[in-house]
């Protein structure tokens, strides 16, 4: 896990441009106020997630593209003509490239920070979100890892609150890191507990 800016700054204002240019989710400098809105809480910085997350996404995208291209193209060639097949193959390749790039962007857009009484998450490429969950509101914290995640050595920490609208997860943490984080969060949710 890399940390973008380990030196805590007293006010988040001067730091945020650098922090987000590390994320590079937005290309230009004119979106500075938008980035300022997604600054980490005071005295912390975004902890970034493992690069394996990007590979996880790339493998999923690659598999999907391989299946749709490998099955769709021969079928199209058999049933129709080759121009359609070429178009289809081109589309699949384009989707693959876009997916590849987006996976990297998505990985870099992810950040989490554990403040004193809240957990901050920031993620999203098209729809950027900053989620703040007070520790006292966490009802369930669990760690999940599917087969591919296990192979890549990462895991997902999932936090549930009583609000069903917020599906809050921290993805792409190394397994040991995830387990430690779960234990930390569970302990804090206990100590800050205020009922429902």
């Amino acid at each position: 896990m890399e940390t973008s800016d380990p030196t805590p700054s007293p006010s988040p204002a001067p730091q945020e441009g650098r922090d987000q240019s590390d994320g590079r989710t937005l290309p230009e400098g004119r979106t500075r106020p938008l980035d300022a809105a997604f600054a980490p809480p005071a005295n912390t910085s975004w902890s970034r997630v493992a690069p394996a997350l990007a590979w996880y996404r790339r493998i999923v995208v690659g598999a999907l593209c391989l299946v749709s291209g490998g099955v769709g193209a021969p079928l199209l060639f058999l049933w129709t003509s080759w121009p359609l097949t070429a178009v289809w193959t081109g589309l699949v390749l384009l989707a693959f490239v876009v997916g590849w790039v987006l996976s990297g962007l998505f990985r870099r857009s992810w950040g989490y920070a554990e403040a004193e009484e809240e957990l901050y998450l920031a993620y999203g490429v098209f729809v950027r979100q900053l989620v703040v969950i007070p520790y006292g509101r966490m009802q369930v914290v669990d760690v999940t890892a599917d087969l591919l995640e296990q192979a890549l050595g990462i895991a997902t920490v999932r936090v549930r609150t009583a609000a069903s609208t917020a599906d809050t997860r921290v993805v792409g943490l190394p397994l040991t890191e995830a387990v430690q984080m779960r234990d930390r969060l569970a302990a804090r949710s206990e100590s800050f507990s205020t009922g429902l």
Binding site: A37, R128, L130, P134, S164
Partner: protein, 480 residues
């Protein structure tokens, strides 16, 4: 009492289905089969009833049910979210009631005790609430103060006086006249959906909220309403997670509003209707209720900041409440106490890169209230988020949980007073201060009576107001 019901119901269904069988076999066969079905149902229902039991073990409710698949649930009553006593028409005829105990686990976590005798259901409700409040199960029901009684004419008028309802009435009349004049039967195709819509949105609430009466007690808000289906809801203090006041366009001319709430127990489609706390009430009374639900705060005085976007909305945060107002025609005011906010989200959609506007979502347990501040400038949105987080941090006192509210020091405004029988208005622990409207002296001729527990005790015919003496000397565990 439930068994004859079930047997009769199943047999009736069987007899109704019997047409084809009657054609192929003779009448004798049919009679024999009917008797067989009746006995079979009886043989199933009797043991199911015998084995279905419930009881209170300290402050846990234990429910056993099922014959083929036995199930047994034990529920900590301190976690309950709401208690409803429901009496559908048929049960009213036979003097029975259904007790719903809503827990926070979402759909299917609620407990329904069906076909209880009515006074048992009432006693059970009182016992359950007492346990949830942390009092011994035999403590009498908390006294209540009348809060609001909805006159039928106001309900009727308000339900009629809405743009969609009026439009569909007019359309219906026009169509009916056209159909009658030109003897054109094609209009039925349009009349039918209109009628169904009116049934749903006009007749439904009308029948549901007839004879509506709300009162406040230290056990929380008590609502009684319904014509064909009599309901009595109790929402204990601190269970209301968020509230919204809805004022449709024409209602604003009348000065009335509707109050809906998010209560964690009322999740899911079927219980969603229970979320309405006041179907129609003067605006002022609606806000008085909000102030009662969230004490030590004043929703009407939270300073609001308008946004400068095509979709107007106003948002304000103070130490206790998050308030947002939106809607061009139907004005919706959403109020969330900052300590009940589950999560705060800052959302910037794909367009916000160009407009520079984003939204702050305030997540609460599921319900009609979806509070958000939309169309905000970036820094402003972040300021709102930080303010919400900061105020929430201050407001969330770890000891201020809502379980066992009567014995909690944080919720007891008048501590001490351990002996709960002598004077109803003074001695119950955990009793909040007298409702504010009593002191404020609203010009409310009908229910301005400031004497708690005194005024309208004898007035309901279907629900006798729980007086102090009623609940003495009953068993702690009403059985079966």
């Amino acid at each position: 009492m439930i068994i004859p019901f079930q047997v009769t119901a199943v047999t009736l269904v069987f007899v109704a289905l019997i047409g084809p069988i009657l054609n192929t076999f003779g009448i004798g066969w049919v009679v024999m089969m009917t008797v067989a079905v009746a006995f079979g149902t009886l043989a199933y229902a009797l043991p199911a009833w015998w084995y279905g039991t419930f009881g209170l073990r300290e402050d846990h409710l234990v429910v056993h049910s099922g014959l083929v698949m036995r199930s047994s649930r034990e529920v900590p009553l301190s976690r309950l979210q709401a208690v409803d006593v429901v009496r559908p028409l048929l049960m009213q005829v036979f003097g029975m009631a259904e007790l719903h105990i809503e827990m926070a686990g979402g759909d299917g976590s609620d407990i329904r005790l069906r076909c209880l005798p009515r006074n048992l259901a009432e006693r059970m409700r009182v016992a359950v609430l007492a346990h949830a409040a942390g009092l011994p199960g035999r403590s009498p029901e908390a006294p209540e103060w009348p809060f609001y009684r909805l006159p039928f004419l106001l309900l009727l008028g308000a339900l009629t006086f809405r743009v969609p309802v009026l439009l569909s009435f007019i359309l219906l009349l026009m169509l009916a006249t056209a159909g009658a004049v030109f003897t054109e039967y094609g209009v039925i195709g349009a009349v039918l959906p209109l009628t169904l819509g009116l049934l749903r949105y006009f007749w439904g609430p009308l029948a549901r909220y007839t004879d509506y009466y709300a009162s406040l007690s230290s056990d929380g808000l008590r609502l009684r309403y319904g014509m064909f289906q009599r309901r009595m809801q109790t929402v204990p203090p601190g269970r209301v997670q968020a509230v919204r006041v809805v004022e449709p366009l024409l209602w604003r001319a009348l000065g009335v509003a509707r109050v809906e709430a998010n209560v964690a127990g009322y999740a899911g489609a079927r219980q969603g209707e229970s979320a309405t706390l006041l179907p129609v009430a003067p605006r002022r009374r609606a806000f008085a209720l909000v102030n009662e639900l969230f004490p030590e705060s004043e929703a009407a005085y939270v300073p609001l900041v308008p946004n400068h976007s095509p979709v107007p909305s106003m948002v304000g945060v103070d130490e206790r409440l998050f308030v947002s107002t939106r809607g061009l025609f139907c004005l919706v005011t959403e109020i969330v106490p900052v300590e009940r906010v589950q999560a705060v989200r800052l959302v910037a959609g794909p367009l916000s890169r160009f407009t520079g506007r984003m939204a702050v979502d305030v997540d609460t347990p599921p319900g009609p209230v979806r509070a958000k501040a939309s169309g905000r400038e970036a820094e402003e949105a972040r300021r709102f988020l930080d303010a919400l987080v900061e105020y929430g941090r201050r407001a969330r006192v770890p000891s201020a949980g809502t379980e066992r509210w009567a014995t909690r020091s944080t919720l007891t405004r008048r501590p001490g007073a351990a002996e709960p029988a002598s004077d109803p208005s003074e001695t119950r622990p955990g009793e909040p201060r007298r409702p504010r409207f009593a002191e404020a002296g609203f010009p409310d001729a009908e229910h301005g009576g400031p004497e708690p527990g005194e005024s309208e005790t004898g007035r309901t015919d279907t629900f006798d107001t729980p007086a102090e003496g009623r609940a003495r000397g009953r068993g702690d565990t009403p059985g079966r």
